[in-house]
Symmetry: C2
Subunit: 202 residues, 2 copies
Amino acid sequence: MKLYDNPHAPNPRRVRMVLAEKGLEYEKESLDLGAGDNLKPEFAAVNPYSKVPVLELPDGLCLSETPAICRFIDEAYPEPELYGTTAKERAIIDMWDHRMESMLLYPALFAFQHITGFFKDRMTPVEDFGQESVRNFLKALPVLETQLTNNEWIAGGRFSIADITAVCAIDFIRIVKVRIGDEYPNIQRWYAAMKRRPSYSA
Amino acid sequence: MKLYDNPHAPNPRRVRMVLAEKGLEYEKESLDLGAGDNLKPEFAAVNPYSKVPVLELPDGLCLSETPAICRFIDEAYPEPELYGTTAKERAIIDMWDHRMESMLLYPALFAFQHITGFFKDRMTPVEDFGQESVRNFLKALPVLETQLTNNEWIAGGRFSIADITAVCAIDFIRIVKVRIGDEYPNIQRWYAAMKRRPSYSA
């Protein structure tokens, strides 16, 4: 397997963390997104939507979109299970993973893109929307704090893909100087546990 | 099963279309989002993030986040299969479904929210970002046209959840007067096929 990667972006990190949790070896090609490596015509054959990560399988199939990649890896290499075992457990993990993606990760990406203007050669940054995205990120935290008051991990009693998605969002938004405050002791407790996992530094 | 629903929003429609494809009966409670029904304290017990759709299962479990709900229904009621049968087919459908969600449906939602200001009592609409969202939506169409030139349905040879997500996005963005132009004959052909399915009017 080969991962088209970027060391700074949160979505490739989600995939690297899944691969690390599974203990899998893989080839890695790092793309310089600022220089537009992903916009070159040769990359369009890998992903016509020009995004990383992409996981190229041994038969040549290039799989993109982080949740599709992570779920595929989990199905092909079930140990340790990151998406649950029963239909209901899977649904609850799915629910929390999608919450963490849409309520933390996307706002973190939008905050970065619209506040820093890093990709202003290929999009129109709107600073006010960047600030609104920071507010959206912060608004999602109280419910997460309650969830982590009642559960060890985000989707319940077991570590799951939702924890990976959340930590990638929380670390990424530091780029615009947003941090989890002391008013969230259970998110802090969970975050410390995430940092202790070897996959954290993948 | 009981669906917490809204007749105008695209995400509840995705769930209704899945339920219609499966031929399932269910109870429906419609929330008036403009009036803030979803922000009332009693709804926080159903979904602490105050969003529809939510599917309440017979045992009382309230499942939210559209992709989690749709996948759960598909697993519980496999006929007709909307998520694929082999691991690779599932991965490709997942990939296209997530593309349609992040590149068509979210831009359509953002365009609505930020251009019309419909929810300005609970968010800060940023008109320029609404217009950028329209551009993002339109930018995603050429790759979709190519995909539908080579395939009958969005994820390949069979109808899938990705078709449902895409049609809900394409219909919703009409609210800000964006339509699929004649330069996309294969998207038009696919769209006509979608309109012929009984689930289209669910």
